[in-house]
């Protein structure tokens, strides 16, 4: 919201220099979005009197004028009388008028913020024109460009334009959000009051605002107006009055000037008057053309204004010429047969005040902020009135504002009050009264203010304070609606006193250690492991496009849908993380294709997924935390560096995590568990991208719970994401990772040399590697010499072309003793025993 500092100065003195003032406004009222000093823009322009005006002999539309600038400007050619010649094309230029002259070398104000246009003396069809006489548009005053700005008050020629129109002004744009609960601060008066409080000065509201001595009576009871307010609970106050014999014209230029400054476009004197009062007090007003209202009524002699909710199927064309279909929750103003306004939002075009208007109905009402908000949202209309009405204006100021508005309208449109002021009012909410002690305030601010300090701070801004023995009784002034609880007064006192003055102390507490968050710690350690192993952490969106589900065959019916997403890219909560990772594989492969030699990468994300099925005790979707990983290499790189199924690459990374974190899991073929998980929505969606014949399920060793999947992707998935052939991944539940509870796998170091021995076993293809490995390991464990420890690792797996039914697995045993040097013979003996024992059970043959 924009305010003019000079307008504010009509109501309070301001001592501080602008820089200091702006700093104090930011820290004691609210953030400033921008500050504009108008003076620079208008430098040079002068008020002049046109002393002579004759038609240009060589151009129909031009006049040649002599102007009197009071002799103020130097360096300009003058005639023998000291006047200056200006050629002017405006239709309204005439002798004896006061106009605004932009002299040579001055900048046309309207061009100030754009490409600056500097005037000069130049010839127009043979006549020299020194500078120009200006229109309101050229003066960035309003958008009127039909003629010159006619100065409509008495001022000496030669006075600067800045001085005449108080343009040595700062326009301060304040952030609206600060005033969500401060409707009074949407008016100059409210801001002036706050600035006065900031300067520690007593503010005095103008008399017309504070004291209603008499309700003015009509000049004659020429018309009557009746109001039928059917929804008093939503419209606590509705004041209306008829003002007649108005002359519609432009408002006085000073009013136009101040309206323009605060961002309101001048229209005509009646509309400007209502807007002027709104800019001043924050209370929107509306004027209807009374004769149009009559003609839209059944009873033309005494129309009734209905205040009600709209009916279904009612329509209204608004002042912006857009027709809207009204909703049943919209408050409307209507005659007995026609809607004439969308209350609190915008008037109807059918009762617009225009140049033909003779009589008006002036309305000053209070509408329920929630209803106005709903209406504004549903129709997408955010007018100045909506901005203010959604803050909850106090209905108690309406009468004072109405009376002042009547006076203003009478003054600037030569009109008369032709009806009683009809005040339909049922104000339910009392102004609040709060008792507060200085201790309460000081305890919350950390200050040491006295009861007197507090009383002064509050009374400066006209909050009514009764100083009792040890407490203050504080009454909300009639224009405020936000003071409800003691803390509201703490805010008021703290703010006006200045938060920058508060003593700054850290809170004191016992030194009990706080609990670290286990999950964050695990995340950090996994990140360290994976990034240390050359993988790159990514973050991707929680929300995804429906296409991602389709590409991995996930079922949208289980996905939580966003109802109001701006983009289809953000329409669903993801069901698992893997699709988001698959989605960026191709772009990263392409980015380095043919540029770097090893075009391969491992990416991972630790994140959450949600579905409609798994709900917690609060009926909220469970937040499944998981880690997803993908490895991909372009075909050239893969061919050069790797051999065999890409599955083993992802598995290698998973094993790395399993080992480092001592995870208790087992890896089983995915196909073997498909039947067990068919009914489990989340798992089903999680594995949908993986090829069941070339992927494994990760099961918890303790209870066989499904914890994740590692493997290669289905052909359809590879195709949909344009994945390279050498690509695999995993996604496992983060619940697998547990706090590392001091269990250590440390093995004391033996003093004797270790010995190693390979063992090559031929087994049937159908025997799983892990079956053989576990069996051998168990046998070694049972038969090894005393006081030894060993490790068993794979060397390789081979298959002969001529015998595809078998494979040969070579394992390496490394064994060590704590009390003697082991002999090769002893180890061979051990291996023979081991082989023999598995020979029978697994049909193994040692080679």
């Amino acid at each position: 919201m924009k305010v003019s500092l000079n307008w504010i100065k009509d109501f309070t003195d301001v001592d501080m220099q602008p820089t200091e003032l702006m700093e104090r406004i930011s820290s004691q009222l609210g953030a400033i979005e921008s500050i504009e000093y108008l003076g620079d823009k208008y430098k040079g322009s002068l008020i002049v009197k046109v002393v002579e005006c004759i038609k240009h002999d060589r151009a129909d539309k031009l006049s040649v004028c002599k102007i009197d600038d009071g002799g103020n400007l130097k360096d300009v050619a003058r005639d023998e009388n000291g006047f200056i010649q200006v050629v002017c094309g405006a239709p309204n230029v005439k002798a004896d008028m006061l106009a605004v002259w932009i002299p040579p070398k001055a900048i046309v104000p309207a061009s100030y913020d754009k490409e600056q246009f500097v005037l000069e003396s130049r010839e127009l069809r043979g006549k020299i024109s020194h500078g120009m006489l200006a229109s309101p548009k050229e003066l960035a005053f309003s958008d009127s460009h039909e003629g010159l700005l006619e100065v409509d008050f008495k001022v000496e020629p030669g006075t600067t334009f800045i001085q005449a129109y108080k343009l040595d002004d700062y326009i301060i744009e304040l952030e609206n959000k600060m005033f969500t609960h401060r409707p009074d601060c949407f008016g100059i008066l409210g801001i002036a009051r706050e600035i006065s409080g900031i300067e520690n000065r007593v503010f005095k509201s103008p008399e017309w605002y504070k004291e209603i001595l008499d309700i003015p009576l009509p000049k004659e009871n020429k018309y009557t107006i009746a109001v039928d307010n059917k929804i008093q609970e939503l419209v606590p106050r509705f004041i209306s009055v008829i003002i007649g014999d108005v002359q519609i014209k432009r408002s006085p230029t000073l009013i136009q000037s101040f309206l323009s400054r605060v961002g309101i476009r001048p229209i005509n004197n009646i509309v400007d008057a209502t807007n002027y009062m709104m800019a001043l007090t924050g209370q929107p007003l509306h004027a209807y053309d009374y004769d149009k209202v009559k003609s839209l009524s059944n009873n033309e002699s005494s129309p009734v204004l209905e205040v009600r909710l709209a009916n279904e199927d009612e329509k209204l064309t608004l002042l912006n010429e857009k027709e809207i279909k009204l909703n049943k929750s919209d408050i409307v103003i209507a005659t007995d047969k026609q809607v004439i306004g969308l209350a609190g939002v915008m008037g109807g075009l059918n009762t617009e005040v225009d140049e033909t208007t003779k009589n008006i109905i002036l309305e000053c009402a209070t509408f329920d902020m929630y209803t106005i908000r709903k209406t504004a949202m549903e129709h997408g209309i955010f007018s100045d009135a909506v901005t203010r009405f959604t803050k909850g204006q106090s209905p108690r100021q309406n009468m004072a504002i109405t009376i002042r508005a009547i006076k203003l309208i009478k003054d600037i449109s030569h009109s008369h009050q032709y009806s009683q002021i009809v005040d339909n009012s049922k104000i339910v909410k009392e102004n609040s009264v709060i008792s507060i002690t200085p201790e309460f305030v000081n305890k919350r601010l950390g200050t040491n203010l006295s009861i007197k300090d507090m009383a002064r701070i509050l009374s400066n801004v006209e909050i009514i304070v009764n100083e009792l023995d040890r407490e203050l009784r504080v009454s909300e002034p009639f224009w405020r609606t936000d003071i409800e609880i003691k803390e509201d007064l703490v805010e008021e006192i703290g703010r006006l006193n200045g938060y920058y003055k508060l003593p700054q102390e850290l809170p004191l507490r016992k030194i009990n250690p706080t609990q670290k968050n286990l999950n964050f710690g695990l995340n950090a350690s996994i990140r360290e492991s994976l990034s240390g192993a050359g993988a790159n952490e990514i973050l991707s969106s929680t929300f995804i496009h429906v296409h991602l589900f389709e590409k991995v065959n996930q079922n949208t019916q289980f996905a939580i849908e966003i109802a109001n997403a701006l983009s289809p890219d953000l329409q669903y909560y993801r069901l698992s993380l893997t699709p988001s990772l698959l989605d960026i594989v191709n772009l990263n492969i392409r980015a380095n294709q043919g540029i770097i030699e090893d075009n391969e990468f491992a990416i991972y994300e630790i994140g959450k997924s949600h579905n409609l099925v798994d709900l917690d005790d609060d009926r909220l979707p469970v937040e499944h935390r998981s880690i997803a990983f993908i490895f991909a290499a372009d075909n050239k790189t893969a061919k050069r560096k790797y051999q065999g199924a890409p599955y083993y690459f992802a598995k290698n990374y998973l094993s790395y995590l399993i080992d480092r974190n001592h995870l208790e899991v087992k890896i089983v073929p995915l196909r073997d568990v498909l039947n067990n998980i068919n009914n489990h929505t989340r798992i089903h969606q999680l594995i949908s991208a993986y090829d069941p014949d070339r992927s494994a399920a990760v099961l918890s060793l303790v209870d066989n719970e499904f914890m994740g999947v590692v493997g290669e992707f289905k052909n359809s998935v590879k195709k949909a994401f344009k994945l390279p052939n050498y690509c695999s991944g995993f996604e496992v539940d983060m619940r697998l990772f547990k706090e590392d509870v001091a269990t250590s796998n440390y093995i004391p170091l033996p003093k004797f040399p270790k010995i190693n021995q390979d063992i090559c076993l031929k087994v049937d293809n159908s025997i799983k590697y892990i079956t053989l490995f576990d069996a051998i390991k168990l046998q070694i464990e049972e038969n090894k010499p005393k006081d030894t420890y060993f490790s068993l690792n794979l060397v390789d797996i081979f298959q002969k072309d001529e015998d595809l039914d078998h494979k040969q697995i070579t394992l390496r045993l490394i064994i060590n003793s704590y009390n003697k040097t082991l002999t090769t013979d002893r180890i061979n003996e051990l291996l023979s025993v081991v082989t023999e024992s598995v020979q029978n059970s697994l049909g193994v043959e040692r080679i």
């Binding site: 953030a31 609880i485 703010r495 990140r527 969106s541 929300f543 939580i560 772009l587 083993y648």
Partner: protein, 345 residues
Amino acid sequence: MNYKFPQIQEVASRLTDPEIIKHQGKTILRSPELGKLFAHLKEMDSKDRAEFGQEINQLKTELLNMIDNQEDELTVLDPIDVTAPVDINVSSEKHPKLLSSSNGSRHPLMTEMDNILDIFYRMGFSSLESRQIDDDFHMFESLNFPKGHPARDDYDTFMTTEGLIAPAHTSTMQNRVLIEGKKLLDSNLPIATVLPGRVFRNEDVDARHGHTFYQIEGIYVDKGINTGNLISTFKTFLEEYYKQDMEIILQPFYFPFTEPSFEFVLSCPFCQKQGCNVCSYSGWIELGGCGMIHPKVLKMAGIESDIYTGFAWGFGVDRLVMMKHGIEDIRHFMAGKLEFLRQFS
């Protein structure tokens, strides 16, 4: 699929045989039968020509799909022994290995989050991750936003079709933390918790505005906590984070869940208030919102607001990281480009 024109139907029934497709592959699209159909098309009445042409194209699409599907089936790879560490017949130098650690990177947002959390741990705060989907009660009502209140408009929230909300601020966790923290208050310990997490705003995206960003909320409740404590706590954090003395301004603001409410403005740590491109040459940076927890919010969690007072704050992490590294576009964070990610260790 059924075709209207008998000529096409006849060709279709012959060619869409899986055996033929398996045998011929893509060459089937150049088969003489299809060629004859095209030849026929040229001789047709103009009346039917368009439709006939369409049907030929439909047939071609059908064949292409069948070829694709068959290729899928043909390329189905044999099952592997998933329990083994390596594949069969792979020499040891071609076994899968971990990539070189010089390729690795952590996401800069997560690294920064850890840095920030570390400072708050040292200051005695515990932490809890914020939710990514929540209900109206936690996101609004428990924070003193009545239904239909215009203050809700300041948050462009994503709503689900079930009426749940993608939280627009980490304050969505406040009520839970306060309820949980009552035990601490009862044993004369403060509630001191930070709540990092993803938050969402349903607004147009540009270089400075993402629909998703990371926020970190802080809550401190105890007996006798005042506004001066709030300023000091946050100032202490920032000075530790930037390793320098900072100036701090509280600008009055409005949030329904704090009273008084502020926006936190700090002197630019990159130019010592001289003005630089990080602070848009103003010397100051707006960091986030804060305030004294509204008594209604405390009461809603069953905490006696006459006895206990507290403060809360929330600020965005993305912005801090962008300022720290000079990152020009917030969209890089979630774009998953290695070129970006690998610049961070």
